[in-house]
Symmetry: C2
Subunit: 575 residues, 2 copies
């Protein structure tokens, strides 16, 4: 059985299963979502109108036993940024969609506003049903209810109340192997799903499997690939402390944006660090090392319990903890965990929303450090869709405009995450140039600027940063197409045995002969496709800039500013 | 005494009086504000930060006895649109500033956030004082208090609470000869003044007068010019019914945007029409024909009294009445008048805010037709700066984003006024191309599309509209530089004796020899200067487009859409 395109038209409430056009055949994940969005979505359409399309695509290796291959890409025109957008998440659905023979699921049109629907994906295609019970419900209740409603174990892709209310920071959540939540976090794709009037999508492969062209070669390649991942020291650290190990590292480097990006170090860093969190998790009987999808050998996730040793949250990432911790000056990990859980349940991006809280604190909406206040706003304002809730739920740029704040850390209206571009200068280039709006995952220069992975480039100097970000963004666009978790990049950058084995895996899966150059070219093509969409939507080089304050306000303790000229930034695109 | 540039630095709290640079010498009004903003404001600066500048300039003829020469231009980078912005208003200050020898007043920098200030302009320059009493007060209280505080009669330029709160629709108000309010309405210039921490500016010429190079020629030209204005039939109609005479005219043409731009005709048009208003004003002992500045011979303003024959509002314009009436479906003129007064008092643009209310009605924030609800939101939300108040106070685009509405009538984030571009197609070109964001005054194609002034171009066809809008925008940019009210354009378009006499006036004032071509070239240069600023700020042709729904949703009763191609719109700039 060859993979197909599953298409749903929500205006007509019709479905179809289509052959894969030849020029989409070699694509998966981000490569495929971006190609489809660029081909089928009018770049100037309203992101929440009927002409936008929401596309899901498992990666090229999703559905196989390849290590770390369970990421699901979602793509559309973003209501937050107005650009093309891809966001990917773990959970079980990438693998199950692939096993349905679904190369991509395209949701187009727009149902009338008086009903909500669910989609059920099986190898036979998609069925549309009206949904009433779960409308208005949080993501935890959705996955729990559906786990009971369905007889067999299925994948679930859902939006929370934020997506239903079309908030621009709304995410899409994917059920993970434990029945908890992983998110296609950034860019408001949950609002696009809400605008289509789709509450959730279930995925049931009914025993279907993906076919491997050369099973023996695949097995061998996977063994070597997994070993490269497991042996990598950064992977091991991630397994022990989670991504939150970065709090102390980035604080030490002076690049931990604090108090709405007015300092690069946070006095309370020890209270929210990965090391502190590790000990607290062990003390409370949580799980330190935990996977977000089957086949993950890095296991950077964790189960964080509350003081009563009850489950509170998982997938508790550095960027969320930084945003509520350092950027909002909240020093209590339990407040941060409570907010993280609330955001997961509402279905709203924890980076965007937490940075928005930092801007709101600068505006005087609540005091810096007020963790309970953050939770109250999430519960009483965002969840209820009050006016303040909608201002916050539309992200940091929205809060800045609402309250006339001039220090608003966004690029293309998307919040800048946990690495200050004045001190980790490679990230200045990534934030400015990625077609996604400020996104650390698009080209994680932190690796080479701070972690000395893939060599070493001085974070405090602009020398070499454009080339670094360019190489990383090209590689990332390719990796995002495989279904692989981005954290394979640490091994890929340092272990010469890693990337070739990944290519072997793809070749063995499809019976083809990709080379390393082919993969690089794929990455370049994806970036250029995305940029062309943005340009047709009206973006130009002036949008590839950081906010004014990064150029004018030196950041303690290094007291540096962003000093890239426009020409230097634009030279990123010389490839 | 030759005119000078008065400059105030709010960061340093310093003032200076400077010679006029040679290349600014022949400029006034919009020509001068746009030239100064383009020369001195970094195009990518935050509009509410210290690098933006707020510039006031009387017109070339302001301060003289020339008919209708009392408009005051204000300019800056707009917080609403992000573009360069000029908005002009009547009132007494243009003439008084000119009589102070002030060619332009430039306010730069930014005072610290713990104090507010006022500026006092005299022929000697500017004095800065700390202000406490009037902070937080509405515009009516400001002008009433200042009329008592000052011994002599002065001009007053002020912001209301909306400007203090830096709302993006905040305007700047200018006291008129009766001590009431006129507004530099559009684009949020009041927020820029608020960001500088300047509450009000007083203007006292202390007996100063402008010098006329050739008084006899001036007098003769003015007599002929005023006669052309007085004799013009459109001017006469404006004097009788005010601008609100247009309700029935535009409704009949099917271009009266109704119920948030879903129809071109409003069933309740008779209840809010200029004819109805005229009778009601007479019945209640108001004033039908009234001037907003000394020397106006058209007198389109009026004094609108309430049912108890007490003053309610003045300068009660068609566009405001349309927006609350047809667009929000409010059929009670008294509700509309109350809202108009509230907006004047808050210091917020009545077009932007009322169109925002229409979008809020579509979002379900309040029902269509709920006039008292509009007043309640103005009083209890906008005035108090609540979250909802800030969403509304930031304009129609803000409301659309907050509530996920896709039918949002804005260009460059500024609300489209009272002429639907699907039915009055010349206005489609003006809205799309003017560097100001959607602004009917930038090139009032309604004149030739509907009123048969300056010839006749079929409003329902796109033929000839680009050329029409181009000619009008060039002429308007020039007229906006003279200090003249735009309503001289009706006579200028139809009476061959009008425009030459205006040029005679300028020549007699300065002892120069401008020709008609010089004036046309001035208009072209202004437009190109403004566009160059916008391009440097990041705008491009993609921003010169109307929202998607105008291309997709036919407007009853003519059931037309906007059908200009991008190339056709862009050909506007071929001059």
């Amino acid at each position: 059985m060859s993979d197909k395109i599953f298409r749903v038209n929500m205006t007509e409430l019709t479905v179809s299963v289509e052959e894969v056009p030849q020029n989409w055949a070699g694509l998966g994940g981000r490569g495929l979502t971006s190609t489809i969005v660029a081909a089928e979505v009018p770049p100037t359409c309203h992101p929440l109108g009927p002409n936008n399309k929401l596309v899901f695509a498992p990666g090229l290796l999703s559905g196989t036993v390849a290590a770390n291959s369970g990421r699901l890409s979602a793509g559309a025109k973003s209501p937050l940024t107005g650009t093309i957008k891809e966001a990917n998440a773990g959970g079980t659905s990438a693998q199950l969609l692939a096993r349905c023979g679904c190369k991509a699921l395209i949701i187009e049109g727009q149902a009338k506003a008086d009903s909500w629907y669910s989609l059920a994906v099986t190898p036979a295609g998609v069925a549309i049903s009206e949904e009433k019970e779960l409308i208005g419900k949080g993501n935890y209740e959705v996955v729990q209810t559906l786990s009971k409603r369905f007889e067999s174990k299925r994948g679930v892709i859902t939006i929370g109340p934020a997506g239903e209310m079309k908030m621009e920071a709304a995410n899409i959540s994917v059920m993970d192997p434990d029945g908890n939540l992983r998110s296609n976090g950034r860019g408001g794709l949950g609002a696009v799903m809400g605008s289509k009037r789709v509450k959730f999508i279930s995925v049931d492969p009914q025993g279907g499997k993906v076919t491997i062209a050369d099973p023996e070669a695949f097995k061998q390649a996977n063994r070597a690939f997994a070993k490269a991942l497991v042996d990598n020291p950064v992977s091991q650290t991630l397994g022990t402390y989670g991504t939150n190990v970065l709090v102390n590292v980035i604080n030490e480097a002076g690049g931990l944006p604090t108090r709405n990006f007015t300092s690069g170090q946070f006095e309370g860093h020890d209270k929210i660090s990965g090391e502190t969190m590790h000990d607290l998790i062990e003390e409370r009987g949580g799980v330190v090392k935990h996977n977000c999808h089957a086949g993950c050998v890095i296991q950077c996730s964790q189960i964080y319990n509350d003081a009563n040793k009850q489950y509170k949250t998982s997938g508790f990432e550095y960027e969320s903890i930084w945003a509520l911790g350092a950027d909002c000056c909240v020093e209590d990990l339990d407040d941060i965990a409570e907010a993280d859980r609330l955001m997961d349940d509402l279905g709203i991006d924890s980076i965007e929303t937490s940075v928005a809280m930092g801007v709101a604190m600068e505006a005087g909406v609540l005091p810096f450090g007020d963790g309970p206040g953050v939770c109250r706003i999430l519960r009483e304002e965002v969840a209820k869709g009050t006016a303040l809730g909608r201002i916050i739920g539309n992200g940091a740029g929205s809060v800045g405009r609402a309250f006339g704040v001039t220090r608003v850390p966004v690029v293309k209206n998307q919040a800048i995450p946990a690495y200050d571009p004045r001190t980790v200068k490679g990230m200045a280039i990534t934030y400015a140039t990625t077609p996604m709006g400020a996104d650390h995952t698009a080209g994680y220069a932190v690796a080479t600027n701070i972690l000395n992975v893939g060599g070493s480039v001085d974070p405090l100097s602009k020398d070499g940063q454009v080339e670094l970000s360019r190489n990383l963004q090209i590689a990332t666009a390719a990796i995002d197409s495989t279904g692989m978790c981005l954290f394979i990049a640490f091994a890929a950058l340092d272990d010469p045995n890693c990337l070739p084995r990944l290519i072997d895996l793809i070749n063995a899966r499809f019976g083809i002969n990709l080379t390393g150059d082919d993969v690089t070219n794929l990455g370049k093509t994806i970036l250029k496709t995305e940029r062309a969409f943005n340009q047709a939507a009206g973006f130009n080089n002036a949008d590839d800039r950081l906010p004014e304050f990064f150029y004018n306000e030196p950041l303690p303790p290094h007291n540096l500013v962003v000093d890239f000229t426009g020409e230097e930034i634009d030279s990123f695109w010389n490839f």
